[in-house]
C-alpha cells in the first residue's frame, strides 16, 4: 500500500528537474565566469534627526547566474535595506558606498533613468505583502502589461498576450478570465503569483524575493516556493531569497548568508553551513525555532537581549553582548569575515568548534 505521501497523490518529484546544468547555464549575453551580481563592501547609512544609522556595514557577496542565495536575518539585520540597494530603490536620504556590479556594470551612483532600466529588466523584486504591491484599482492584467511595456517595445495586443502567458506560467488557472479581475478578487496566494508574474515580465536575470512567502499560509508557501523553483529551472533566473526562516533557506537555497546588525556573520553553501554551524548567532537562530521533531513543552534554548542600536557602532562584535560563547576579546575588536574553511566564511573569534550538526533533525 502506498505510503502517506503516496496516498495524497504526490506529484513526481526530483526527476523533472534536469541536472543543475540548466540552472547554471549563463543567460543570454552573459560571459561565463562573470558573476551575475557582485556586491563589494556595500555600506548604507541614513541620517535621521542628527543621528547616523549604519544600516549596512560593509557586506560582500556574489550571485552566480541561475543559483539561489538565501540572505537570513532578523529585523534590523540590514537584509531588506541591502536588497533595496541592489535595486537602486533607496531614498535620497541614504548614503550608499561600496560597489554593486550587475553583469559587470556598476549600479551605485547611477542616475534615476538608468536605474529604471535596470529595475525590471535586470533585477526584479517580489515583496512580502501582496496587498501593498498591487494597485487595488487596476485590473490585474493591466498591471502586468504595464510592466511589460515599460521595458519591451510591444504593442497593446502583444503585451496582453504576454501577460496571459505569464499568468499561465505562474500557474494561475483560467488566465484569460483572471486578466480582467481586480486584486481583491484573488486570494493571497494568487496575488503573490501575480506579483511574480509582474516581476518576471521582462525575464530578469535576477529575482529578489523579500520575505515573499512569510505572509502566506504554509500550504500556499509550499506552492509558491515550488513555483519559484520551477521558474528558475525554466528561465535560468538567479534567486535571492531574503528571509528569517532558516529551514526554508535550507530547503531551497544553495548558498546561505546570515546577517546580523548590518554585517555578514556567516556564509556558506547550505550543506556546509548545516554540517557545521560556526557562528553562535546562526546556532541561536537554529535553536530558537520550534521544530516538529521536538517533544512538546520543551523550553527552547534562547538568547536574551535585543539587537544593537545601529546608530551607535560599538568596537567589538555586535553579537557579543548576547552571545553565550562570548569572551572578553569579543567586545574589544570586531572579528573579520574570513574564509576559515573552504567555502565557509564566518566572523567570530570563538566559533562553535564542535562539529555541531546544524541539521534540524536527529
Amino acid at each position: 500500500m502506498a505510503g502517506p505521501l503516496g496516498q495524497l497523490g504526490r506529484r513526481p518529484g526530483g526527476t523533472s528537474v534536469a541536472s543543475s546544468g540548466a540552472r547554471d547555464a549563463a543567460g543570454p549575453g552573459q560571459q561565463p565566469g562573470v558573476p551575475l551580481l557582485e556586491v563589494s563592501d556595500l555600506r548604507v547609512r541614513f541620517r535621521s534627526r542628527g543621528e547616523t544609522v549604519h544600516a549596512v556595514q560593509g557586506i560582500s557577496y556574489t550571485v552566480e547566474p541561475g543559483r539561489t542565495l538565501a540572505i537570513i536575518g532578523e529585523s534590523g539585520s540590514g537584509k531588506t535595506v541591502s536588497a533595496y540597494a541592489v535595486l537602486g530603490l533607496l531614498p535620497r536620504t541614504a548614503q550608499v558606498s561600496g560597489s554593486i556590479r550587475f553583469k559587470g556594470v556598476e549600479i551605485v551612483g547611477l542616475g534615476e533613468r538608468e536605474l529604471r532600466e535596470h529595475r525590471g529588466r535586470n533585477v526584479a523584486m517580489v515583496f512580502q505583502n501582496p496587498e501593498r504591491s498591487l494597485n487595488p484599482t487596476m485590473k490585474v492584467g493591466n498591471q502586468i502589461t504595464e510592466a511589460v511595456r515599460r521595458h519591451l517595445p510591444l504593442g497593446r495586443e502583444q503585451a496582453r498576450e504576454r501577460a496571459i502567458e505569464l499568468l499561465q506560467t505562474v500557474r494561475i488557472p483560467a488566465a484569460e478570465r483572471r486578466f480582467h479581475e481586480y486584486p481583491h478578487q484573488l486570494s493571497g496566494g494568487m496575488r503573490q503569483r501575480v506579483i511574480i508574474a509582474i516581476a518576471l515580465a521582462c525575464e530578469p536575470a535576477l529575482l529578489i524575493a523579500d520575505e515573499a512567502t512569510t505572509a502566506l499560509d504554509v500550504t500556499t508557501q509550499a506552492q509558491i516556493m515550488d513555483l519559484l523553483l520551477d521558474l528558475q529551472a525554466q528561465l535560468g533566473t538567479a534567486l535571492v531569497m531574503i528571509s528569517h526562516d532558516l529551514a526554508l533557506a535550507a530547503s531551497y537555497a544553495e548558498d546561505i548568508m546570515v546577517m546580523y546588525a548590518g554585517r555578514v556573520v556567516e556564509q556558506a553553501c547550505a550543506e556546509d553551513l548545516f554540517a557545521s554551524v560556526r557562528m553562535p548567532y546562526t546556532r541561536a537562530l537554529l535553536d530558537a525555532v520550534p521544530r516538529v521533531d521536538l517533544e512538546p513543552h520543551v523550553l527552547l534554548p534562547v538568547v536574551g537581549g535585543l539587537p544593537p542600536d545601529l546608530s551607535k557602532v560599538a568596537p567589538g562584535c555586535s553579537f557579543a553582548p548576547r552571545c553565550p560563547e562570548a569572551q572578553p576579546d569579543c567586545q574589544a575588536a570586531m572579528p573579520p569575515l574570513e574564509e576559515h574553511e573552504t567555502g565557509h566564511w564566518w566572523a567570530c573569534w570563538h566559533p562553535c568548534t564542535k562539529e555541531a550538526p546544524g541539521e534540524l533533525g536527529e
Binding site: 535621521s48 542628527g50 529585523s75 535595506v81
Partner: protein, 298 residues
C-alpha cells in the same frame, strides 16, 4: 519582517521595532515643519495679545466713540493709524475690538462644537445601534440644511447679538465635529486595546474617557483648528450681510461692508480689515496643517 530602519525609511511595516513613525526628514524639511507651526502660531498669539490684553494696559480710543470732527481720516494719520470712520470712530480700535469679537465667536463656536459635538459623536460611535442611529439622524438633519441658510434663519429669528451668532454657527460645528468623533470612535472601538479593556471588565465610560477620547484628541483638535478659519469667514459674512454683530459694535465683516461702500473714494477702509481677516484665517490653516503633520493625524 522589515527592521526598524527599513520600516522608517522605506515605509515598510515594521515587525519588532514598534508602530510605524513618520519618515525621517533631512534637516531642511524638519525646519520647515517647525516654522510652519511656530510662525503662524506666534502671529496669532501676537494678534490675540493685541486684541485682548493691549487695550487693558494702553489707552486705546473707544471704537464706538468719536468726534465727527475726526471723520474719515486716512491711514497713517497721527493718533489714528488706520484712520477713522465716517463718524470719527478710530479704525485701529475697531480692528482690535472687532478681532475680539471674531476670536470670541470662533472660540465659542469651536469650543462648544468640540465638547458637545465630540461628546455626541463619541457616544454615538461607542454605543452603536439605536443610540447611534437616533443621534446621527438628528445631526444629519442639521447637516442637510444648507449651512448658510440655516445660520441666516437662526440669526434672523433670534435677533442680532454675539451670543446668537455663536448659537447659529454651532448648528454647523456640532454636527461636523460629531461626525469626525463618531468615525474616530468606530475605528478605535475595534482596536485590540479597547477590546482588551472590555475584556478586563473596564466600564464603558472609563473606556471612553481613558482610551477613546485621549486617542481621539489630536484628530479632533486639528479638525477644530482647521474649521476655525471657516467659522471666522462665515461669521464675518454674517456681519457683512448685517445679520451678525449689530452696529455700532465693531466687527471685521461689518468693516468690510463699510469699506465696500467707500471703495471708490478710499481703499484702505476695505483693505485693512480684509487683510486682517485673510491673515488670521491663513495662520489658522497653516497652524492646523502643521499640527496635523506633527501629530500624525490622517
Amino acid at each position: 519582517m522589515a527592521g526598524p530602519v527599513a520600516s522608517l525609511v522605506l515605509g515598510l511595516p515594521d515587525a519588532a521595532g514598534g508602530s510605524p513613525q513618520p519618515q525621517p526628514q533631512s534637516r531642511g524639511r524638519g525646519l520647515l515643519r517647525t516654522l510652519e507651526i511656530t510662525i503662524p502660531g506666534a502671529l496669532l498669539l501676537v494678534l490675540l495679545f493685541f486684541c485682548f490684553i493691549w487695550p487693558l494696559v494702553y489707552p486705546v480710543p473707544s471704537p464706538t466713540y468719536g468726534s465727527v470732527l475726526n471723520a474719515n481720516l486716512p491711514i497713517w494719520s497721527p493718533g489714528h493709524i488706520f484712520g477713522t470712520t465716517n463718524v470719527g470712530y478710530d479704525n485701529m480700535a475697531r480692528i482690535l475690538y472687532g478681532g475680539r469679537t471674531t476670536f470670541e465667536v470662533a472660540a465659542g463656536v469651536q469650543g462648544i462644537g468640540l465638547v458637545v459635538g465630540g461628546l455626541l459623536g463619541v457616544i454615538a460611535g461607542y454605543a452603536g445601534r439605536i443610540v447611534e442611529s437616533v443621534l446621527m439622524r438628528v445631526l444629519d438633519i442639521l447637516i442637510a440644511f444648507p449651512a448658510l441658510v440655516l445660520i441666516l434663519v437662526i440669526a434672523d429669528s433670534l435677533g442680532q447679538s454675539e451670543m446668537h451668532v455663536i448659537w447659529a454657527l454651532c448648528a454647523f460645528s456640532i454636527p461636523a465635529t460629531a461626525r469626525v468623533a463618531r468615525a474616530g470612535t468606530l475605528r478605535l472601538r475595534d482596536q485590540p486595546f479597547v477590546v482588551a479593556a472590555r475584556l478586563s471588565g473596564v466600564k464603558a465610560w472609563r473606556i471612553i474617557s481613558g482610551h477613546i477620547v485621549p486617542n481621539l484628541m489630536p484628530q479632533l483638535l486639528t479638525f477644530s483648528l482647521l474649521g476655525t478659519g471657516i467659522v471666522i469667514i462665515i461669521e464675518s459674512g454674517l456681519d457683512f450681510l448685517g445679520y451678525g454683530i449689530p452696529d455700532p459694535a465693531p466687527s471685521w465683516g461689518g468693516m468690510i461692508a463699510y469699506g465696500q461702500t467707500v471703495m471708490s473714494v478710499s481703499l484702505s477702509p476695505l483693505i485693512v480689515p480684509s487683510l486682517f481677516l485673510f491673515g488670521t484665517v491663513v495662520c489658522l490653516n497653516l497652524l492646523g496643517d502643521g499640527l496635523r503633520g506633527r501629530w500624525g493625524v490622517r
